[in-house]
Amino acid sequence: MREISLHILDAVQNSIEADANKIYIKIREDYNQDKLIIKIEDNGKGMTPEFLKDVLDPFKTTRKTRHVGLGLPLFSAAAKNCSGDFKIDSKKGEGTKITATFQHSHIDRAPLGDMVGTILAILCSDKELDLYYNHQVNNKKFEFNTQEIKKILGNISLVNINVIKWLESYLKNNFKELYKNGGVLIAKN
């Protein structure tokens, strides 16, 4: 995949397929430690230890539509190619947690890319879910969760086109703020 945000979207689609209705995305970018860490956690149906053992094998998949599952193997390869690491923890009936670590400055590391597009694609899912997003760049942080948004919206659907367009500009502006000054919070006088 051309962007890490596409791997994230893909992993979250797994969570949705696993009937998760709570999805947590945590991103940490630390320039000093030269690390990019991505954690995706869900409350989906989880995996048995036997399935977990083979989960990175493309020919082990829960898909019914075809017999090859490439999503997680691609994500894992992307991390490992960047002096990184890829871990999956899962408990049957409880959920799954994925941690992908990349060397931030690695020449082969794909850009994080369009996180706004990824978040919007998740929010437009046909399944009812809540997303908790937490992104830190050095010592700046942006947090966002759909619970808060839904509380304001009341009976208006999140996928209402006006709401989605508003969310897009809300997210864009907050990301711009997050990366300003290299993610370093400058104290105001």
């Binding site: 490439l70 369009d114 437009c124 899912s125 709401v163």
Partner: protein
Amino acid sequence: MPKIKSLEELKKLREEAIKSMKVRESTGTKITVGMGTCGIAAGAREVMHAILDELEIRNIEANVITVGCIGLCAEEPLVTIERGGQPGITYGKINVGKVPKLLEEHLVKGNIIDEWVISRG
């Protein structure tokens, strides 16, 4: 620090959305974009984004929904358009460049673009 695009604005938006809700219920257009690994790798996220932009530009009321893989991976990105309770029309190999024509023909003029259709109903 003042919060740009604050959640307060969303409250205002809610009022507007309520006003337009009645209209939308009667037209009821639903656009579904396949978002499995196959779709994502083929550019489905960008296609979804282009659809959202196009809907806004043309002021068309529709809900855009993402779904998992439906098994037609070779034809991704897949876009299904359902209008007012009619059976859906699924278009294959849609890219960002095709989106304006797709919405213009199907939603504005009401013409199905036969050569792009891969499944009906």
